[in-house]
Symmetry: C2
Subunit: 232 residues, 2 copies
DNA sequence: TTAGTTCTTTGCGCTGGCGCAACCAAGGGG
DNA sequence: CCCCTTGGTTGCGCCAGCGCAAAGAACTAA
């Protein structure tokens, strides 16, 4: 028997602070600036000069890349406890993505001189950052392979599972994805279109695998989705 | 007037050793083991325990990921002066990709304890590794966006340009891609099929943009390719 | 409550690109 | 030199998924 909670990750996983004692963390945070990002607004824009890197305390960020006409791809969602824009620390570059808040979000931001100081005080942090970058690289490579090798239906199944694992909340009827996620978002995340996503979710709803509303999805049978994603 | 050489990168770019004095480099190399990888053979396999990371001295590696039935995706080509499998250093993980030699290749490999020692002796190296990982992440994100937003023709154009920039050699008739690159390889690199790639290269050959033979491509009009890739 | 906006659903027709099949061309080993 | 393997080309049919259009549903502001 499979339990719904088997499909969820532990709520907050600040791998970034692994090896840093609890007492030190407030000191690190106080070196940065806390900032509130209202739902729907933008924290930083792709191609802007990268001045700060951020830690998400509460809420959720959406990282997107825009293609020159119209289409956008969702690169990743950032949950509480994760960092983003590490690029701002090490490269005198521009942001490679746009970060916007899916819901009201609070972040802590450090500018380059500050974070460099912090990193030299706590060398473990550099290693943790590198680990994070390697994780994201691997994740991206996996999604790239899926995009090459699988058809839309499978990719959507995987996307739902991936998002569910990181941002799912168990409720009576199944696992609720606990932020606003539209058909368009899922399409941008999987390289499909809004129409196709809508049609596929409809079929799955009829099969009883999930139930969905406006910008809301509850996965009621994750196991069926997994089976579907794995099968040929 | 555009010169062909405008489209090429400088031949060897060991960003990994930026900030490390020339005298030190032999010491770092001698801490590792030199290894010869015959064309067509495999240096390491996806999912094997990651024991060593590698620096390519000569030749060329192909990094691929295999999907469970059949299809494979080319994640990246590694040219002389670049490192790969940094994951072996920091994570007690498995390799996320397979590395095979496209041509006869020599690498230097370090196992975890050795490279950790080296890194603590030369802290700049850690930063350089992180920089490299961030570059590759960005590259992957770009290709992901392209795969979502563009059609095959454009992706193939971009792929050719990308490969040409890193591995092109100027000859009389244009820029020669200086390793064996089959239609299948290009297809695996762009998420297309062998047939489609073949058809597209044929059309471009008729237009005079390139000339190609068995596992060989010479781009004679890079500018036309750029224009094609950029246009809608 | 109403009007306006934003998100979703679904029918329908179209097409980019896949993939088979059959054939051609270039190496390479003996 | 010939044979055999490996890679490339091209015609043909097919279908997954796109994208328009039009209607419906849910939220929002006034």
């Amino acid at each position: 028997m499979n339990h719904l909670s088997d499909y969820l990750e532990s709520p907050i996983r600040s791998e970034i602070f692994t090896g840093i004692s609890e007492e030190m963390r407030p000191k690190i945070f106080s070196a940065g600036q806390r900032r509130f990002v209202k739902a729907g607004t933008t924290l930083f824009h792709e191609a802007d000069a990268a001045r700060q890197c951020y830690f998400v305390q509460k809420g959720r960020l959406k990282l997107t890349k825009l293609h020159f006409e119209g289409k956008e791809a969702i690169v990743r969602y950032i949950s509480p406890g994760e960092m983003t824009a590490a690029v701002a620390v090490f490269k005198k570059n521009t942001y490679p993505v746009t970060a916007s808040a899916v819901e009201d979000t609070t972040v802590v931001g450090w500018d380059r001189p500050t974070i460099l100081k912090v990193l030299s005080d706590y060398p473990t942090l550099t290693i943790n950052l590198l680990n994070g970058a390697l994780d994201r690289l691997e994740d991206m490579q996996n999604r790239y392979l899926e995009l090459c090798a699988e058809r839309v239906e499978q990719r959507i199944a995987r996307a739902l599972l991936r998002i569910m694992r990181r941002s799912g909340r168990k409720i009576d009827s199944g696992v609720l994805i606990d932020f606003r996620l539209s058909r368009q978002d899922l399409a941008d995340y999987t390289g499909a279109t809004l129409y196709t996503v809508s049609r596929i979710l409809s079929t799955w709803e009829k099969k009883g695998w999930l139930s969905s509303g406006r910008e809301k999805i509850v996965v009621s049978d994750p196991h069926a989705l997994v089976a579907f994603a794995e099968e040929g």
